[in-house]
Point group: C2
Chain length 205, copies 2
DNA sequence: GAAGAAGGTGACCCGGCGGTCATCTTCTTC
DNA sequence: GAAGAAGATGACCGCCGGGTCACCTTCTTC
């Protein structure tokens, strides 16, 4: 996709409206939100949407990349302002899980294959790096067990919200319960040896 | 649906073939497996499927109820043959998670609203009861924290597999890693207070 | 303000899927 | 073995949703 600067003024406006409408639609209805509805919400025709994003997949990827970078910035902020340790990890997990809970499409999008979507792959790589640093710092304080990685933390965040997803309307905070249990599973001490290595990257064929 | 005994012999045969084909199709392709393919696999026409199960939903419910009752029997067996404690709970979680990992439709089906599907509601109720007993026994030994319930255990089982689901083909055992972390979260001792009460029943509008 | 390029439009196409029904076949019963 | 009830069939329907394209509109540039 062309850089924004090369776009005509009306095209740029439409592109932004589309991204905004898509973000809202995906959050509310999940990744299945029809492109037609997104275009209508943005005040443009379907053809316009497909001019900016040749496939629905591209649109999803654009929004997901943005979300992931937001998370990265949050990690940087926590790293700067909080003391390293389990609390810092828990704070990040809580914020990330809240984002996942507020956006039905986030999990689905995050776990999809991102092959060929460079922007998205870069965002994911940056996230994993930031998470590993946060977790590593916490491990050095002795507050987090040694055998978990940044990706594990991401997986647990997703696990806590995703399982509650169908119940979110009734119990919008339910994920906090399971996140707390999972944070307790990160403590060192009396632990079960982990039987399988963690994934190396968060992507899936 | 009529009791089997009242069915004509050919109808009974077809019904069984349909259930078998559906179980396999749902396990392999998830709940989205088209009814057409199920009918073909069972060697009957689509109309026949809809005679036995008026909606796809009914077919899913029938299979799910069967799966849930299998889990119940497993719990009974563990209760009889193993000593109560965290190990017993972990064994059940492992078996349940393995079932979930082997059947892409299990989670989706389990979290759907079951309103009006009496057979299914009964099976779910029985499962929750059995889980509460298993967990309660373990708590009495002091090996499991006091603030979790049977439903929590079910949720964690689902959380472990569901989050790995997109990666299952690459890493079919990955769920074991997260299940182990979650089991460690069930230990008493240094725990975070759980911020939200557990659900009372596993069903969702 | 003319001209052409960039962008916008929406009717249309297509494939997939759940579900229906008039019609034909098979089982059961006496 | 006749009759009728129960069951099976598969063409058909309607809906949905992603994606296309020939044609029209708007912006930019000189």
């Amino acid at each position: 996709m062309k850089p924004d600067a090369e776009l005509r003024s009306d095209a740029l406006r439409n592109r932004r409206a589309l991204l905004e409408a898509a973000a809202e639609a995906f959050a509310r209805h999940g990744i299945e939100a029809p492109v037609e509805a997104i275009a209508r919400q943005a005040g443009v025709a379907k053809g316009t949407l497909f001019r900016h994003f040749p496939t629905k997949r591209d649109l999803v990827a654009a929004i997901l990349a943005d979300r992931i970078l937001t998370l990265c910035e949050l990690i940087d902020e926590i790293t700067r302002e909080r003391e390293a340790g389990l609390e810092a990890v828990a704070e990040l997990m809580s914020a990330g899980a809240a984002m996942l809970a507020a956006d039905r499409s986030f999990f689905d999008a995050a776990m999809r294959d991102a092959e060929g979507e460079d922007e998205l792959l870069a965002a994911k790589a940056r996230l994993v790096q930031a998470l590993d640093r946060l977790v590593g710092d916490a491990q050095r304080t002795g507050e987090v067990r040694e055998d978990v990685s940044g990706i594990d933390v991401a997986m647990l965040m997703m696990a806590a919200t995703n399982t509650c997803a169908p119940a979110l309307e009734r119990e919008p905070q339910l994920w906090r319960r399971y996140l707390a249990l999972m944070v307790d599973g990160l403590r060192p001490g009396d632990t079960t040896p982990l039987p399988v290595p963690a994934l190396v990257e968060v992507s899936v064929s």
